[in-house]
């Protein structure tokens, strides 16, 4: 889409060549003007700043059509590799559960756009088989995710912190 920027010089040339539209004025002594007419004909130029504004507007339209993304998702979500989501579904995640599901959903949506496979691993059962599935299936599975009453496996791995 940014190839559209190539058209800017053409537009610039057009704007320079096309003189501004004349004003019409009723002028009774026009017949006197006929006698002094042939001395010129370099048309009045469009003011340079007007041309600049028009070009800027055209450039902005082209940029907008290219679909710019503000603050794009980078890193893991922006790769070609399959997406593996580890979801903490222990009781400690309950307070921010909706946010977590929402974030996971966004990531799955990104993966869907790029056609990447998705694997979903709830932390309450990390041993479950790790299968890549299409993003649509992953979203369905995400909807079935439930908060577990069990502490996530992290707790079990770190008994010392559980004791403190």
């Amino acid at each position: 889409m940014l190839i559209g920027l190539v058209s800017l010089p053409v537009l610039w040339w057009l704007l320079r060549v096309m003189p501004p539209r004349p004003r019409r004025i009723d002028f009774p002594p026009t017949r006197l003007l006929f006698e002094i007419a042939p001395k010129e004909e370099t048309p009045a130029r469009t003011p340079w700043w007007l041309t600049l504004i028009r070009l800027l507007a055209a450039a902005l339209v082209i940029f907008a059509a290219a679909g710019p993304i503000y603050n794009p998702v980078t890193g893991v979500a922006r790769s070609d590799a399959p997406l593996v989501l580890l979801i903490d579904d222990g009781w400690s995640a309950a307070s921010s559960w909706d946010t977590r599901i929402k974030t996971a959903d966004d990531l799955i949506a990104t993966a869907e756009t790029d056609g990447r496979g998705v694997a979903l691993i709830p932390m309450s059962e990390p041993a479950r088989d790790l299968t890549l599935m299409p993003a649509g299936n992953a979203r369905h599975r995400l909807g079935n995710c439930r908060r577990s009453l069990m502490p996530s496996s992290g707790w079990r791995c770190c008994p010392s912190s559980a004791a403190s």
Binding site: P19, P20, R21, P22, R23, R24, I25, D26, F27, P28, P29, T30, R31, L32, L33, F34, E35, I36, A37, K39, E40, E41, T42, P43, A44
Partner: protein, 143 residues
């Protein structure tokens, strides 16, 4: 035909080409009537305060002309107007008539004073002995 005793006042913009004005004057003065021409003009027709790209349109259909940069025409235009007036003035002088210019941003009282003085002088102070006709608005294109 105006009688030879008539006092003729012609109010017009007098932007017609000189030959047309001459023809009109010849008809009016053929019987020996005396008269005064008053050119009534808009201030913009004196100063030509235009700039940029402008289509000038003759309001009675005589044509249109496009100025690319009207501001560069002002000097030539003002000189042309002066020459046009000189030509009219020469013509009226030849006939023994009077010629004056009235700008529409000036008081009409000035114009009346001028006309009154012109008739008084012309009649040698014997106002009222000669018949007097008022202006002929249809003689020349009016504005």
């Amino acid at each position: 035909m105006p009688s030879s005793l008539s006092e003729i006042v012609v109010l017009s913009d007098f932007w017609s080409p000189l030959p047309e004005i001459q023809a009109t004057l010849a008809g009016l003065s053929s019987t020996g009537a005396h008269g005064t021409l008053v050119q009534i003009v808009d201030p913009a027709e004196e100063t030509f305060p235009y700039s940029g790209r402008i289509d000038f349109v003759e309001p009675e259909g005589a044509g249109t002309i496009t100025a690319g940069r009207a501001e560069t025409w002002a000097a030539d235009y003002i000189a042309r107007v002066a020459r046009h007036r000189d030509e009219i003035r020469d013509e009226t002088r030849r006939l023994g008539w009077l010629f004056s210019v009235h700008d529409t941003d000036r008081s009409a009282a000035e114009l009346l004073l001028f006309l009154h003085a012109g008739m008084t002088v012309n009649n040698g102070g014997q106002i009222g002995r000669r018949a007097r006709s008022a202006a002929c608005p249809s003689l020349l294109p009016s504005r």
